[in-house]
Protein backbone atom coordinates (compact mmCIF):
# COMPACT_ATOMS: atom_id res chain seq x y z
CA UNK A 1 0.00 0.00 0.00
CA UNK A 2 2.89 2.35 0.75
CA UNK A 3 4.13 1.72 -2.77
CA UNK A 4 0.77 2.67 -4.27
CA UNK A 5 0.49 5.73 -2.09
CA UNK A 6 4.02 6.76 -3.07
CA UNK A 7 2.82 6.66 -6.67
CA UNK A 8 -0.06 8.95 -5.73
CA UNK A 9 2.36 11.35 -4.07
CA UNK A 10 4.65 11.40 -7.11
CA UNK A 11 1.69 12.12 -9.40
CA UNK A 12 1.03 15.18 -7.29
CA UNK A 13 4.58 16.40 -7.69
CA UNK A 14 5.79 15.36 -4.27
CA UNK A 15 9.37 14.23 -4.35
CA UNK A 16 12.83 14.33 -2.92
CA UNK A 17 13.37 16.65 0.03
CA UNK A 18 9.78 17.96 0.15
CA UNK A 19 8.51 18.41 3.69
CA UNK A 20 5.03 16.91 4.02
CA UNK A 21 2.94 17.68 7.09
CA UNK A 22 0.63 14.77 7.92
CA UNK A 23 -2.36 16.06 9.86
CA UNK A 24 -4.73 13.12 9.99
CA UNK A 25 -6.65 11.59 12.88
CA UNK A 26 -5.96 8.03 14.00
CA UNK A 27 -6.43 5.97 10.86
CA UNK A 28 -4.71 2.86 9.46
CA UNK A 29 -3.76 4.79 6.32
CA UNK A 30 -1.41 7.09 8.24
CA UNK A 31 1.25 4.38 8.58
CA UNK A 32 1.60 3.43 4.89
CA UNK A 33 1.20 7.10 3.96
CA UNK A 34 4.11 7.98 6.20
CA UNK A 35 6.18 5.23 4.59
CA UNK A 36 5.05 6.40 1.16
CA UNK A 37 6.44 9.87 1.85
CA UNK A 38 9.77 8.28 2.73
CA UNK A 39 9.65 6.08 -0.35
CA UNK A 40 9.04 9.13 -2.51
CA UNK A 41 12.11 10.75 -0.96
CA UNK A 42 9.98 13.34 0.88
CA UNK A 43 10.30 14.19 4.57
CA UNK A 44 7.20 13.39 6.64
CA UNK A 45 6.33 15.48 9.68
CA UNK A 46 3.40 14.21 11.71
CA UNK A 47 1.52 17.04 13.38
CA UNK A 48 -1.27 16.96 15.93
CA UNK A 49 -4.75 17.12 14.47
CA UNK A 50 -6.35 20.20 16.05
CA UNK A 51 -8.98 19.36 18.62
CA UNK A 52 -12.27 21.18 18.85
CA UNK A 53 -10.93 23.48 21.55
CA UNK A 54 -8.13 25.02 19.53
CA UNK A 55 -9.11 28.27 17.84
CA UNK A 56 -8.70 27.97 14.03
CA UNK A 57 -6.54 31.12 13.98
CA UNK A 58 -4.16 29.59 16.50
CA UNK A 59 -3.94 26.40 14.50
CA UNK A 60 -3.19 28.41 11.36
CA UNK A 61 -0.56 30.45 13.19
CA UNK A 62 1.15 27.27 14.39
CA UNK A 63 1.23 25.87 10.85
CA UNK A 64 2.49 29.19 9.50
CA UNK A 65 5.27 29.23 12.09
CA UNK A 66 6.18 25.73 11.09
CA UNK A 67 6.18 26.55 7.38
CA UNK A 68 8.47 29.52 8.02
CA UNK A 69 10.85 27.36 10.05
CA UNK A 70 10.77 24.01 8.35
CA UNK A 71 9.95 25.08 4.83
CA UNK A 72 6.71 23.13 4.74
CA UNK A 73 5.94 22.08 1.14
CA UNK A 74 2.77 19.99 1.25
CA UNK A 75 -0.06 19.35 3.66
CA UNK A 76 -1.65 15.90 3.66
CA UNK A 77 -4.81 16.13 5.70
CA UNK A 78 -8.53 15.58 5.97
CA UNK A 79 -11.17 17.50 4.03
CA UNK A 80 -12.55 18.90 7.28
CA UNK A 81 -9.43 21.03 7.74
CA UNK A 82 -9.53 22.49 4.25
CA UNK A 83 -11.45 25.62 5.11
CA UNK A 84 -9.14 26.49 7.99
CA UNK A 85 -5.93 25.70 6.16
CA UNK A 86 -6.62 26.83 2.60
CA UNK A 87 -5.96 30.57 3.27
CA UNK A 88 -2.49 29.65 4.45
CA UNK A 89 -1.74 27.72 1.26
CA UNK A 90 -3.01 30.58 -0.90
CA UNK A 91 -1.42 33.43 1.01
CA UNK A 92 1.30 35.40 -0.75
CA UNK A 93 4.80 34.10 -0.19
CA UNK A 94 3.57 30.82 1.30
CA UNK A 95 6.02 27.96 0.99
CA UNK A 96 3.14 25.50 0.98
CA UNK A 97 2.57 24.33 -2.57
CA UNK A 98 -0.60 22.32 -2.11
CA UNK A 99 -2.93 20.55 0.23
CA UNK A 100 -4.05 16.97 -0.49
CA UNK A 101 -6.58 14.58 1.02
CA UNK A 102 -5.18 11.02 0.90
CA UNK A 103 -8.25 9.52 2.59
CA UNK A 104 -10.18 10.32 -0.57
CA UNK A 105 -7.80 8.75 -3.05
CA UNK A 106 -9.93 6.15 -4.80
CA UNK A 107 -12.02 5.36 -1.76
CA UNK A 108 -15.66 6.36 -1.90
CA UNK A 109 -16.07 5.60 1.80
CA UNK A 110 -13.07 7.69 2.77
CA UNK A 111 -11.25 4.75 4.30
CA UNK A 112 -8.44 4.73 1.77
CA UNK A 113 -9.33 1.14 0.92
CA UNK A 114 -9.41 -0.03 -2.65
CA UNK A 115 -6.32 1.79 -3.76
CA UNK A 116 -5.36 -0.07 -6.90
CA UNK A 117 -1.90 -1.55 -7.10
CA UNK A 118 -1.26 -0.03 -10.50
CA UNK A 119 1.01 2.77 -9.48
CA UNK A 120 4.69 2.41 -9.27
CA UNK A 121 6.07 4.40 -6.42
CA UNK A 122 9.52 2.90 -6.75
CA UNK A 123 11.87 4.23 -4.11
CA UNK A 124 14.58 6.64 -5.06
CA UNK A 125 18.16 6.10 -4.00
CA UNK A 126 18.39 6.74 -0.28
CA UNK A 127 21.59 6.96 1.72
CA UNK A 128 22.11 6.89 5.48
CA UNK A 129 22.81 10.61 5.53
CA UNK A 130 19.57 11.57 3.79
CA UNK A 131 16.92 13.18 5.98
CA UNK A 132 14.19 10.76 7.06
CA UNK A 133 11.77 12.74 9.16
CA UNK A 134 11.02 15.93 11.02
CA UNK A 135 9.81 15.67 14.57
CA UNK A 136 8.98 18.56 16.84
CA UNK A 137 10.36 18.92 20.29
CA UNK A 138 7.21 20.31 21.86
CA UNK A 139 3.53 20.77 21.44
CA UNK A 140 2.45 24.37 21.87
CA UNK A 141 1.99 26.88 19.10
CA UNK A 142 4.61 29.22 17.78
CA UNK A 143 7.59 27.89 19.63
CA UNK A 144 7.87 24.44 18.11
CA UNK A 145 11.43 23.42 17.40
CA UNK A 146 11.84 21.20 14.35
CA UNK A 147 14.32 18.33 14.66
CA UNK A 148 15.48 16.78 11.40
CA UNK A 149 16.71 13.20 11.69
CA UNK A 150 18.55 11.16 9.08
CA UNK A 151 17.88 7.57 8.06
CA UNK A 152 21.19 6.58 9.64
CA UNK A 153 20.47 8.28 12.98
CA UNK A 154 17.06 6.66 13.36
CA UNK A 155 18.23 3.24 12.20
CA UNK A 156 21.25 3.25 14.53
CA UNK A 157 19.10 4.42 17.39
CA UNK A 158 16.35 1.85 17.16
CA UNK A 159 18.91 -0.96 16.72
CA UNK A 160 20.87 0.13 19.80
CA UNK A 161 17.80 0.82 21.89
CA UNK A 162 16.19 -2.42 20.75
CA UNK A 163 19.20 -4.42 21.92
CA UNK A 164 19.17 -2.63 25.30
CA UNK A 165 15.53 -3.66 25.66
CA UNK A 166 16.40 -7.15 24.38
CA UNK A 167 13.60 -6.95 21.85
CA UNK A 168 12.92 -10.36 20.35
CA UNK A 169 10.52 -11.94 17.92
CA UNK A 170 7.98 -12.69 20.67
CA UNK A 171 7.62 -9.06 21.61
CA UNK A 172 4.58 -6.99 20.86
CA UNK A 173 4.41 -3.27 21.37
CA UNK A 174 1.08 -1.76 22.39
CA UNK A 175 0.69 2.00 22.25
CA UNK A 176 -1.88 4.76 22.53
CA UNK A 177 0.83 7.40 22.12
CA UNK A 178 0.38 10.11 19.50
CA UNK A 179 2.77 9.91 16.55
CA UNK A 180 3.62 13.60 16.73
CA UNK A 181 5.52 12.82 19.92
CA UNK A 182 8.96 11.13 19.86
CA UNK A 183 7.82 8.39 22.22
CA UNK A 184 4.95 7.44 19.90
CA UNK A 185 6.87 7.88 16.65
CA UNK A 186 10.32 6.48 17.43
CA UNK A 187 9.73 4.05 20.30
CA UNK A 188 6.30 2.68 19.46
CA UNK A 189 6.42 2.88 15.65
CA UNK A 190 9.94 3.08 14.15
CA UNK A 191 11.45 0.62 16.60
CA UNK A 192 8.97 -2.22 15.97
CA UNK A 193 8.97 -1.37 12.24
CA UNK A 194 12.74 -1.69 11.97
CA UNK A 195 13.01 -4.73 14.23
CA UNK A 196 10.08 -6.57 12.67
CA UNK A 197 7.86 -6.92 15.72
CA UNK A 198 4.13 -6.17 15.70
CA UNK A 199 2.81 -2.92 17.13
CA UNK A 200 -0.78 -2.33 18.17
CA UNK A 201 -1.79 1.31 17.81
CA UNK A 202 -4.69 2.83 19.72
CA UNK A 203 -6.27 6.24 19.11
CA UNK A 204 -4.94 8.58 21.84
CA UNK A 205 -8.34 10.28 22.13
CA UNK A 206 -10.11 6.99 22.59
CA UNK A 207 -7.58 5.88 25.19
CA UNK A 208 -7.93 9.02 27.27
CA UNK A 209 -11.74 8.71 27.13
CA UNK A 210 -11.58 5.12 28.18
CA UNK A 211 -8.12 4.24 29.54
CA UNK A 212 -9.06 0.57 30.06
CA UNK A 213 -8.81 -0.11 26.32
CA UNK A 214 -5.00 -0.17 26.57
CA UNK A 215 -5.19 -3.00 29.10
CA UNK A 216 -7.79 -4.82 27.00
CA UNK A 217 -5.49 -4.56 23.97
CA UNK A 218 -2.49 -5.81 25.96
CA UNK A 219 -4.54 -8.79 27.16
CA UNK A 220 -5.93 -9.65 23.76
CA UNK A 221 -2.76 -9.09 21.76
CA UNK A 222 -0.36 -10.43 24.41
CA UNK A 223 1.45 -7.11 24.54
CA UNK A 224 4.93 -7.17 26.06
CA UNK A 225 6.25 -3.59 25.78
CA UNK A 226 4.51 -0.29 26.49
CA UNK A 227 5.85 3.22 26.97
CA UNK A 228 3.80 5.56 29.12
CA UNK A 229 4.16 9.08 30.47
CA UNK A 230 3.86 9.22 34.24
CA UNK A 231 0.30 10.56 34.36
CA UNK A 232 -0.95 7.43 32.58
CA UNK A 233 -0.04 5.27 35.58
CA UNK A 234 -2.24 7.36 37.84
CA UNK A 235 -5.03 7.64 35.31
CA UNK A 236 -5.23 3.88 34.83
CA UNK A 237 -4.83 3.03 38.51
CA UNK A 238 -7.49 5.54 39.61
CA UNK A 239 -10.01 5.82 36.83
CA UNK A 240 -10.76 2.32 35.59
CA UNK A 241 -13.57 0.64 37.44
CA UNK A 242 -13.18 -2.95 38.58
CA UNK A 243 -15.89 -4.37 36.33
CA UNK A 244 -14.03 -3.19 33.22
CA UNK A 245 -11.10 -5.41 34.16
CA UNK A 246 -12.69 -8.84 34.11
CA UNK A 247 -11.01 -9.88 30.86
CA UNK A 248 -7.69 -8.20 31.63
CA UNK A 249 -4.48 -10.25 32.02
CA UNK A 250 -1.14 -8.48 32.10
CA UNK A 251 1.18 -11.47 32.54
CA UNK A 252 2.74 -10.97 29.11
CA UNK A 253 4.03 -7.47 29.90
CA UNK A 254 7.78 -7.47 30.39
CA UNK A 255 8.50 -3.75 30.01
CA UNK A 256 6.29 -0.88 31.15
CA UNK A 257 8.57 2.06 30.50
CA UNK A 258 7.92 5.37 32.24
CA UNK A 259 9.11 8.23 30.07
CA UNK A 260 8.60 11.89 29.05
CA UNK A 261 7.63 13.27 32.48
CA UNK A 262 9.53 13.11 35.77
CA UNK A 263 9.06 9.55 37.07
CA UNK A 264 7.11 9.44 40.34
CA UNK A 265 7.55 6.49 42.67
CA UNK A 266 4.05 7.06 44.07
CA UNK A 267 2.59 6.48 40.60
CA UNK A 268 4.58 3.25 40.14
CA UNK A 269 3.53 1.94 43.55
CA UNK A 270 -0.12 2.73 42.88
CA UNK A 271 0.00 1.07 39.46
CA UNK A 272 1.56 -2.14 40.78
CA UNK A 273 -0.87 -2.35 43.71
CA UNK A 274 -3.81 -1.94 41.35
CA UNK A 275 -2.74 -4.33 38.59
CA UNK A 276 -0.67 -6.96 40.35
CA UNK A 277 -3.85 -9.02 40.86
CA UNK A 278 -4.27 -8.97 37.06
CA UNK A 279 -0.87 -10.49 36.44
CA UNK A 280 1.33 -7.38 36.27
CA UNK A 281 4.83 -8.31 37.43
CA UNK A 282 6.46 -5.54 39.50
CA UNK A 283 9.72 -6.22 37.67
CA UNK A 284 8.14 -5.12 34.42
CA UNK A 285 8.19 -1.52 35.62
CA UNK A 286 10.99 0.40 33.99
CA UNK A 287 12.02 3.94 33.13
CA UNK A 288 13.89 5.86 30.49
CA UNK A 289 15.05 9.40 29.76
CA UNK A 290 14.49 10.52 26.21
CA UNK A 291 13.98 13.50 23.92
CA UNK A 292 13.42 14.33 20.28
CA UNK A 293 16.88 15.92 19.97
CA UNK A 294 18.63 12.61 20.62
CA UNK A 295 16.16 10.75 18.35
CA UNK A 296 14.71 9.19 21.50
CA UNK A 297 16.36 7.39 24.44
CA UNK A 298 19.45 8.55 26.34
CA UNK A 299 19.19 6.29 29.38
CA UNK A 300 17.19 3.15 30.08
CA UNK A 301 16.77 0.97 33.15
CA UNK A 302 17.81 -2.56 32.08
CA UNK A 303 14.98 -5.09 31.66
CA UNK A 304 14.04 -7.17 34.71
CA UNK A 305 15.72 -4.64 37.02
CA UNK A 306 13.55 -2.53 39.30
CA UNK A 307 14.42 1.16 38.92
CA UNK A 308 16.53 2.35 41.86
CA UNK A 309 14.64 4.65 44.21
CA UNK A 310 16.45 6.97 46.61
CA UNK A 311 14.74 8.88 49.40
CA UNK A 312 16.44 12.26 49.60
CA UNK A 313 16.12 15.35 51.74
CA UNK A 314 13.79 17.62 49.71
CA UNK A 315 15.18 20.88 51.07
CA UNK A 316 18.79 19.89 50.34
CA UNK A 317 17.74 18.78 46.86
CA UNK A 318 16.26 22.22 46.15
CA UNK A 319 19.66 23.66 47.05
CA UNK A 320 21.33 21.27 44.61
CA UNK A 321 22.64 18.56 46.91
CA UNK A 322 21.50 14.97 47.09
CA UNK A 323 21.49 13.86 50.69
CA UNK A 324 19.77 10.71 51.92
CA UNK A 325 16.77 11.62 54.03
CA UNK A 326 17.40 11.33 57.74
CA UNK A 327 13.70 10.71 58.17
CA UNK A 328 12.81 13.93 59.98
CA UNK A 329 12.29 16.50 57.18
CA UNK A 330 10.39 16.51 53.88
CA UNK A 331 11.39 13.66 51.62
CA UNK A 332 11.44 13.31 47.87
CA UNK A 333 11.58 9.87 46.31
CA UNK A 334 13.77 10.06 43.22
CA UNK A 335 13.43 7.29 40.66
CA UNK A 336 16.38 6.36 38.48
CA UNK A 337 16.05 6.62 34.72
CA UNK A 338 18.89 4.11 34.41
CA UNK A 339 22.38 4.19 32.90
CA UNK A 340 23.22 5.64 29.47
CA UNK A 341 22.47 3.40 26.53
CA UNK A 342 25.48 2.56 24.32
CA UNK A 343 26.55 5.53 22.19
CA UNK A 344 25.23 8.08 24.70
CA UNK A 345 27.18 10.04 27.26
CA UNK A 346 25.92 12.38 29.98
CA UNK A 347 27.65 15.13 31.91
CA UNK A 348 25.92 16.87 34.79
CA UNK A 349 27.21 20.45 34.75
CA UNK A 350 26.92 23.61 36.83
CA UNK A 351 25.92 27.03 35.47
CA UNK A 352 29.47 27.60 34.21
CA UNK A 353 29.49 24.32 32.34
CA UNK A 354 31.84 22.56 34.80
CA UNK A 355 31.19 18.88 35.29
CA UNK A 356 29.79 17.91 38.69
CA UNK A 357 30.43 14.68 40.54
CA UNK A 358 27.97 12.20 41.99
CA UNK A 359 25.02 13.48 44.02
CA UNK A 360 25.17 17.09 42.85
CA UNK A 361 22.26 18.54 40.93
CA UNK A 362 23.07 20.29 37.65
CA UNK A 363 21.99 20.59 34.04
CA UNK A 364 22.11 17.39 32.02
CA UNK A 365 24.29 17.68 28.90
CA UNK A 366 24.27 14.83 26.39
CA UNK A 367 26.48 13.51 23.64
CA UNK A 368 24.90 10.80 21.53
CA UNK A 369 25.51 8.78 18.41
CA UNK A 370 21.99 9.72 17.36
CA UNK A 371 22.14 13.40 18.28
CA UNK A 372 20.40 15.86 15.95
CA UNK A 373 22.49 18.35 14.03
CA UNK A 374 20.46 21.35 15.04
CA UNK A 375 16.94 22.70 14.78
CA UNK A 376 16.01 23.10 11.14
CA UNK A 377 16.43 26.74 10.02
CA UNK A 378 16.76 27.88 13.62
CA UNK A 379 20.47 28.67 14.10
CA UNK A 380 19.96 30.95 17.12
CA UNK A 381 18.03 28.27 19.00
CA UNK A 382 20.57 25.64 17.98
CA UNK A 383 23.45 27.77 19.25
CA UNK A 384 21.73 28.05 22.63
CA UNK A 385 21.60 24.31 23.21
CA UNK A 386 24.32 22.70 21.10
CA UNK A 387 27.89 23.50 22.11
CA UNK A 388 31.05 21.53 21.26
CA UNK A 389 29.03 18.48 20.34
CA UNK A 390 27.06 18.49 23.60
CA UNK A 391 23.34 19.04 23.79
CA UNK A 392 22.33 21.06 26.85
CA UNK A 393 18.94 19.61 27.67
CA UNK A 394 17.61 22.19 30.11
CA UNK A 395 16.74 19.31 32.45
CA UNK A 396 18.15 19.16 35.95
CA UNK A 397 19.34 15.91 37.42
CA UNK A 398 22.11 14.07 39.21
CA UNK A 399 24.34 11.05 38.81
CA UNK A 400 24.71 8.31 41.35
CA UNK A 401 27.21 5.68 40.28
CA UNK A 402 26.33 4.94 36.67
CA UNK A 403 22.67 5.83 37.05
CA UNK A 404 20.96 9.13 36.27
CA UNK A 405 18.04 10.76 38.04
CA UNK A 406 16.05 13.58 36.44
CA UNK A 407 14.51 15.91 39.02
CA UNK A 408 13.37 19.09 37.28
CA UNK A 409 13.95 21.64 34.58
CA UNK A 410 16.08 24.67 34.10
CA UNK A 411 13.61 26.17 31.65
CA UNK A 412 10.12 27.07 32.80
CA UNK A 413 8.44 24.52 30.54
CA UNK A 414 5.30 23.02 32.07
CA UNK A 415 4.78 19.34 31.34
CA UNK A 416 1.11 18.39 31.49
CA UNK A 417 0.43 14.74 30.81
CA UNK A 418 3.54 14.44 28.66
CA UNK A 419 2.86 17.61 26.66
CA UNK A 420 5.28 20.50 26.89
CA UNK A 421 3.55 23.82 27.40
CA UNK A 422 5.45 27.07 27.19
CA UNK A 423 4.39 29.57 29.84
CA UNK A 424 4.93 32.38 27.32
CA UNK A 425 2.03 31.09 25.21
CA UNK A 426 -0.32 30.96 28.19
CA UNK A 427 0.79 34.38 29.43
CA UNK A 428 0.15 35.94 26.01
CA UNK A 429 -3.35 34.44 25.81
CA UNK A 430 -4.29 35.44 29.37
CA UNK A 431 -2.70 38.89 29.04
CA UNK A 432 -5.19 39.82 26.32
CA UNK A 433 -8.27 39.18 28.50
CA UNK A 434 -10.06 42.47 29.35
CA UNK A 435 -9.64 43.10 33.07
CA UNK A 436 -6.17 41.60 33.25
CA UNK A 437 -3.40 44.19 33.33
CA UNK A 438 -1.52 43.64 30.03
CA UNK A 439 1.86 42.01 30.45
CA UNK A 440 1.22 41.33 34.12
CA UNK A 441 0.65 37.58 34.03
CA UNK A 442 2.84 34.62 34.88
CA UNK A 443 2.11 30.96 34.19
CA UNK A 444 3.78 28.01 35.84
CA UNK A 445 3.31 24.33 36.60
CA UNK A 446 1.77 23.18 39.87
CA UNK A 447 2.40 19.68 41.09
CA UNK A 448 -0.83 17.66 40.95
CA UNK A 449 -0.29 14.47 42.89
CA UNK A 450 -3.66 12.93 42.06
CA UNK A 451 -2.96 13.34 38.36
CA UNK A 452 0.68 12.25 38.69
CA UNK A 453 1.61 15.23 36.55
CA UNK A 454 1.61 19.00 36.54
CA UNK A 455 -1.26 21.34 35.89
CA UNK A 456 -1.12 24.89 34.62
CA UNK A 457 -1.61 27.74 37.09
CA UNK A 458 -1.54 31.47 36.37
CA UNK A 459 -1.15 34.58 38.47
CA UNK A 460 -2.76 37.61 36.86
CA UNK A 461 -2.78 41.18 38.07
CA UNK A 462 -6.13 42.92 37.82
CA UNK A 463 -7.84 46.10 38.93
CA UNK A 464 -11.09 44.18 39.32
CA UNK A 465 -11.62 43.82 43.07
CA UNK A 466 -15.27 42.83 43.31
CA UNK A 467 -15.62 39.13 44.13
CA UNK A 468 -18.41 38.39 41.66
CA UNK A 469 -16.59 40.21 38.88
CA UNK A 470 -13.43 38.30 39.77
CA UNK A 471 -15.28 35.03 39.43
CA UNK A 472 -16.32 36.04 35.91
CA UNK A 473 -12.78 37.14 35.12
CA UNK A 474 -11.40 33.78 36.23
CA UNK A 475 -13.75 32.06 33.82
CA UNK A 476 -12.70 34.39 31.00
CA UNK A 477 -9.06 33.60 31.71
CA UNK A 478 -9.74 29.86 31.56
CA UNK A 479 -11.62 30.35 28.27
CA UNK A 480 -8.80 32.40 26.75
CA UNK A 481 -6.40 29.53 27.42
CA UNK A 482 -8.89 27.02 26.01
CA UNK A 483 -8.53 28.80 22.66
CA UNK A 484 -4.87 27.77 22.57
CA UNK A 485 -5.82 24.30 23.82
CA UNK A 486 -4.42 24.75 27.30
CA UNK A 487 -6.39 23.91 30.43
CA UNK A 488 -5.72 26.22 33.35
CA UNK A 489 -6.36 24.41 36.60
CA UNK A 490 -5.95 27.39 38.90
CA UNK A 491 -6.16 31.16 38.54
CA UNK A 492 -4.71 33.43 41.20
CA UNK A 493 -5.97 36.99 40.79
CA UNK A 494 -3.79 39.55 42.47
CA UNK A 495 -3.82 43.36 42.79
CA UNK A 496 -1.65 45.62 40.62
CA UNK A 497 2.08 45.63 41.36
CA UNK A 498 1.90 42.26 43.08
CA UNK A 499 4.14 40.34 40.67
CA UNK A 500 7.84 40.41 41.43
CA UNK A 501 10.06 41.57 38.60
CA UNK A 502 13.16 39.72 37.55
CA UNK A 503 16.43 41.54 36.87
CA UNK A 504 15.38 41.77 33.21
CA UNK A 505 12.31 43.76 34.25
CA UNK A 506 9.81 41.05 33.39
CA UNK A 507 7.60 39.38 35.99
CA UNK A 508 9.49 36.47 37.53
CA UNK A 509 7.54 33.22 37.51
CA UNK A 510 9.34 31.59 40.40
CA UNK A 511 9.48 34.62 42.68
CA UNK A 512 5.85 35.55 42.01
CA UNK A 513 4.70 31.98 42.60
CA UNK A 514 6.63 31.84 45.86
CA UNK A 515 4.99 35.09 46.91
CA UNK A 516 1.49 33.70 46.28
CA UNK A 517 2.35 30.51 48.16
CA UNK A 518 3.79 32.35 51.14
CA UNK A 519 0.78 34.68 51.45
CA UNK A 520 -1.83 32.00 50.78
CA UNK A 521 -4.68 32.26 48.27
CA UNK A 522 -7.24 33.38 50.82
CA UNK A 523 -5.21 36.42 51.84
CA UNK A 524 -4.14 37.73 48.44
CA UNK A 525 -6.71 40.56 48.50
CA UNK A 526 -6.95 41.10 52.22
CA UNK A 527 -4.82 44.26 52.43
CA UNK A 528 -6.37 45.71 49.27
CA UNK A 529 -9.94 45.02 50.42
CA UNK A 530 -9.12 46.48 53.80
CA UNK A 531 -7.98 49.60 51.99
CA UNK A 532 -4.28 49.06 52.58
CA UNK A 533 -1.49 48.90 50.05
CA UNK A 534 -0.15 45.60 48.78
Amino acid sequence: MAQVLAGHLRERGIGRGDVCALIIRHNPIVYPLYMACVRAGAIPAILAYPNARLHPDKFRQGLKGMSQRSGLDFILSERELEEVTRPLVESEGSTIRAMHFPLEWHAPDGSGAGLAGDRDGAPGRITADDPLLLQHSSGTTGLQKPVLLSHGAVQRHVETYGSVLRVGQDDRVVSWLPLYHDMGLIAAFHLPLALGVPTVQIDPFEWVSSPGILLEAISREKGSIVWLPNFAYDLMADRISEDRLHAVRLDTLRLVINCSEPVRQESHAKFVARFHPYGLRPRALSACYAMAETTFAVTQVPPETPPTVVAVDRIALQRGTVRPSAGDGPVRLCVSSGPCIPGCEIRVVDDDGRELGDNSVGEIAIRSASLFEGYRNYPEKTAEVLRDGWYYSGDYGFRRGHEYFVVGRKKDVIIVAGNNIYPEDVEAAVGSVPGVIPGRVVAFGEEHSELGSERVAVIAETTVADELAQRRLRLEIVRAAMAIDVSIARVYLVPARFLIKSSAGKPSRTASRDRVMSIGEADLWRPARAGGAV
Binding site: S210, L235, L451, L475, R479
Partner: protein, 83 residues
Protein backbone atom coordinates in the same frame (compact mmCIF):
# COMPACT_ATOMS: atom_id res chain seq x y z
CA UNK B 1 -34.13 15.29 21.37
CA UNK B 2 -33.07 14.65 24.96
CA UNK B 3 -33.28 17.43 27.49
CA UNK B 4 -30.31 17.61 29.77
CA UNK B 5 -31.57 16.78 33.26
CA UNK B 6 -30.78 18.94 36.27
CA UNK B 7 -29.17 15.94 37.93
CA UNK B 8 -26.77 15.38 35.04
CA UNK B 9 -25.96 19.10 34.89
CA UNK B 10 -25.27 19.19 38.60
CA UNK B 11 -22.90 16.20 38.60
CA UNK B 12 -20.96 17.60 35.63
CA UNK B 13 -20.65 21.08 37.13
CA UNK B 14 -19.66 19.70 40.52
CA UNK B 15 -16.98 17.48 38.99
CA UNK B 16 -15.56 20.39 37.03
CA UNK B 17 -15.92 22.76 40.03
CA UNK B 18 -17.98 25.21 38.02
CA UNK B 19 -20.61 27.38 39.68
CA UNK B 20 -22.77 27.69 36.61
CA UNK B 21 -22.52 26.94 32.93
CA UNK B 22 -25.15 26.61 30.29
CA UNK B 23 -25.23 22.93 29.42
CA UNK B 24 -27.58 22.00 26.62
CA UNK B 25 -28.14 19.06 24.34
CA UNK B 26 -25.59 20.23 21.80
CA UNK B 27 -22.92 21.43 24.22
CA UNK B 28 -19.51 19.93 23.47
CA UNK B 29 -17.05 19.08 26.24
CA UNK B 30 -14.51 21.29 24.51
CA UNK B 31 -16.76 24.32 25.12
CA UNK B 32 -16.91 23.83 28.88
CA UNK B 33 -14.09 25.27 31.00
CA UNK B 34 -12.04 22.56 32.67
CA UNK B 35 -13.59 19.73 30.63
CA UNK B 36 -10.50 18.57 28.76
CA UNK B 37 -9.32 15.16 27.67
CA UNK B 38 -7.81 14.51 31.10
CA UNK B 39 -10.89 15.38 33.12
CA UNK B 40 -13.26 13.62 30.71
CA UNK B 41 -12.84 10.21 32.30
CA UNK B 42 -13.45 11.75 35.74
CA UNK B 43 -16.72 13.27 34.54
CA UNK B 44 -17.79 9.96 33.03
CA UNK B 45 -16.99 8.08 36.26
CA UNK B 46 -18.88 10.66 38.32
CA UNK B 47 -21.92 10.29 36.04
CA UNK B 48 -21.74 6.50 36.32
CA UNK B 49 -21.58 6.74 40.08
CA UNK B 50 -24.38 9.27 40.36
CA UNK B 51 -26.80 7.22 38.28
CA UNK B 52 -25.55 3.79 39.33
CA UNK B 53 -24.85 2.76 35.74
CA UNK B 54 -21.82 1.44 33.80
CA UNK B 55 -20.82 2.47 30.30
CA UNK B 56 -18.80 0.29 27.95
CA UNK B 57 -15.59 1.70 26.46
CA UNK B 58 -17.11 1.99 23.00
CA UNK B 59 -20.14 3.82 24.42
CA UNK B 60 -17.89 6.40 26.07
CA UNK B 61 -15.80 6.79 22.93
CA UNK B 62 -18.92 7.35 20.83
CA UNK B 63 -20.17 10.33 22.86
CA UNK B 64 -20.28 13.51 20.77
CA UNK B 65 -22.01 15.95 23.10
CA UNK B 66 -23.91 16.24 26.36
CA UNK B 67 -27.14 15.18 24.67
CA UNK B 68 -25.45 11.88 23.78
CA UNK B 69 -24.39 11.45 27.39
CA UNK B 70 -27.95 12.12 28.57
CA UNK B 71 -29.35 9.61 26.07
CA UNK B 72 -26.80 7.02 27.17
CA UNK B 73 -27.77 7.52 30.82
CA UNK B 74 -31.46 7.30 29.88
CA UNK B 75 -30.92 4.12 27.90
CA UNK B 76 -29.08 2.51 30.82
CA UNK B 77 -31.85 3.46 33.20
CA UNK B 78 -34.39 2.13 30.76
CA UNK B 79 -36.25 5.39 30.89
CA UNK B 80 -37.40 4.46 34.38
CA UNK B 81 -35.82 7.35 36.20
CA UNK B 82 -35.52 10.94 35.13
CA UNK B 83 -34.81 13.92 37.30
Amino acid sequence: MAMVSEELKRVILETLKLDEWDLTDGTLASEVPGWDSLSHVTVVLAVEQQFGVRFASREVIGLRNIGDLQRLVDAKLGGARRA
